[in-house]
Amino acid sequence: MTASSQHTAILHTKAILIPSEDVPIEILAKHHVDKIWRPAIKLKKCPLPLFMGKVSAGFPSPADDYLEKTLDLNELLVQKHAATFFARAQGHSMNGAGIFPNDILVVDRSIEPVSGKVVICAIDGELTVKRLIMDNGQWKLQSENANYPDIMIYEEIDMVIWGVVTNVIHSL
């Protein structure tokens, strides 16, 4: 709020604000206002509810001592929070690896993409999930479905590894 504070005024509302008479003139002068308004008094009868509850005085649970924290799936699925992203799978090319359409992939960008890992990579700017394989000195992206061909990674191909898939969340 830039210019507005310059012409800030203390305000009144007919309905609920009334001028306050007991403010010393020095205070008004100090704040550059000519009147200070306060909310009007509206006296209302407020019946106070009377509570009559029971005070519990039973035995504490004998299991209280054994309370442990509850299980958190993040602990199981996420090692590095800052580097972990989720992605939605589409298509059937990785069915053999247990990845089906609509599954959620847990992707850790900080893990080294070595041969054998399932990775997300960008080929010509398009994101895809495949298994990274080094085979006889040749890198390739392998599908896990016979209907989909493997992709050989030659130097002229624009390919960037985005992250390593660590888990699949699949609804049944």
């Binding site: 709020m1 210019a3 507005s4 504070s5 012409h7 800030t8 005024a9 203390i10 305000l11 009144h12 509302t13 609920i16 604000l17 306060r38 909310p39 009007a40 008094i41 509206k42 006296l43 209302k44 590095k80 929070h81 800052a82 580097a83 992203f85 989720f86 992605a87 939605r88 799978a89 589409q90 298509g91 090319s93 959620i104 992939l105 960008r109 900080s110 997300i120 960008a122 010509d124 700017g125 398009e126 994101l127 895809t128 999930v129 960037v160 985005w162």
Partner: protein
């Protein structure tokens, strides 16, 4: 003598653009711009866009031709995404130094004092780790003071040869760079100070560094004289590791289209109040003073102009959204005048106090008689639900999808904060 200080400034390159590119690898090396609220102006530009001469803050309509002819991809600001990516970058950086100051959404100072590593290769390591973990490219400037670390970072970004890391520990190198750097690029030198310095014949950072701090203090102020000391390698500005809570909270935005009815403005204002109240509770404060302002579009020549603000000081500080919304709307009804096309409104909280501050005893508690009763439990419950399911609970007066909502036609998915908007891989 004090031990030699050493700071690193890690700054994300074109941060908003980089965030968008992480999830859109097809946009690597392509011109990309991010627009301000309401899709008005450029607030982030890829290097390709900068090369086209589009400056920070340029209104979109002025360069629409360039955008079309060069196929610039534009995004509306996706603050949920940027905030999430920022916290990923910051928590990655945390492990690299014993102390860190998060300076802004895309910059952090690290304390390198007393570290024995080769700082340049250590910083290359930081750069690689952040890029790998988060996808965000960063530059690092290393120097004995924060001001020089900023300068080093400026150099790291400006010259590709540096590979994104510049160490200004060496005074000779420092002087050389300062001779090449306009004084206005120095951290803390605003445009007015710069004009005054230029008039005195001080044009480069080096010109400023050779001034006497005492003389500068006389002609300017202590801040500028500290800058002179800092440029000479004497650390005067310390690291502030703990983010100090804000003393003021402002939430204001331009409307998606000009509004004329008080009901529409009130809806927008209620929404801004709700956001501001969330922030207020997030930092465990209560507010005493609530101000509201409205204004027309000052750039529109054909519209009659009007703008006003009003403030109300509450007897009892509050953090209850309902109290705040009621008060703000009372103020709005007072400053609103029919017959104008309003472009913007906002709410500002000032005079904030910690929640734990005891209330003064008030003999005639007028406020409680006219305003909703404070209910911290209810507010805590709403905050908890809204954290889980963003914006799922709001007051009736702030019902969303109003005509006031800012334009965000090019908004990218909330890739990291919404299950329904995850990036898709084939």
């Amino acid at each position: 003598m004090k031990a030699q200080t050493c700071f690193a400034l890690v700054d994300c390159n074109n941060f908003y653009v980089s965030c968008e590119r992480v999830f859109r690898p097809d946009l690597q090396d392509k011109p990309v711009g991010v627009l301000s609220n309401n899709d008005g102006c450029f607030v982030a530009r890829s290097s390709e866009v900068k090369e086209l001469g589009i400056k920070m803050g340029t209104p979109l309509f002025k360069v629409q031709d360039l955008v079309d002819s060069h196929g610039i991809t534009l995004f509306s600001s996706n603050y949920a995404l940027y905030a999430d990516m920022s916290s990923r970058v910051m928590s990655t950086l945390e492990s690299f130094a014993p102390r860190m100051e998060v300076y802004s959404i895309d910059e952090a100072f690290l304390d390198f004092s007393g570290m024995r590593e080769d700082l340049v290769s250590y910083s290359q390591d930081i750069k690689k780790t952040v890029q790998r973990s988060t996808g965000i490219p960063v530059s690092v400037g290393i120097a004995p003071t924060k001001t020089l670390a900023k300068l080093a970072n400026y150099a790291a970004k400006k010259w590709k040869k540096t590979q994104g890391v510049v160490d200004l520990s060496d005074p000779v190198r420092r002087d050389k760079l300062m001779q090449l750097t306009p004084v206005g690029e120095i951290w803390g030198i605003g445009s007015r100070t710069q004009q005054k310095l230029n008039a005195m014949g001080i044009h480069t950072a080096y010109d400023l560094a050779i001034q006497s701090p005492q003389a500068i203090q006389k002609q300017f102020n202590i801040t500028v004289s500290k800058t002179v000391m800092e440029l000479n390698g004497v650390s005067c500005i310390e690291l502030e590791p703990i983010s100090s809570d804000k003393q003021q909270i402002v939430c204001s935005r331009s409307f998606g289209q000009p509004l004329t009815s008080v009901a529409d403005i009130s809806q927008a204002l209620s929404e801004y109040c709700t956001r501001a109240a969330e922030k207020l509770r997030g930092q465990h404060s209560k507010v005493h003073c609530i101000s509201v302002f409205v204004r027309t579009n000052p750039f529109s020549r054909c519209d009659k102009q009007y703008g006003r603000s009003a403030t109300l000081k509450l007897d009892v500080a509050t953090q209850d959204t309902r109290v705040i919304v009621t008060t703000a709307n009372t103020l709005l009804n007072h400053i609103y005048k029919a017959g104008y096309r309003y472009q913007k409104c906002g709410v500002q909280f000032s005079h904030l106090v910690p929640v734990s501050t005891p209330e003064q005893l008030i003999l005639l508690d007028n406020q409680r008689a006219v305003l909703p009763k404070e209910n911290p439990t209810l507010m805590a419950a709403i905050d908890k639900i809204n954290r889980k399911f963003p914006k799922s609970i709001s007051l009736g007066s702030a019902l969303s999808k109003g005509v006031w909502q800012p334009k965000a036609d090019q908004l990218s998915p909330h890739y990291t904060t919404c299950w329904n908007e995850l990036m898709v891989v084939k």
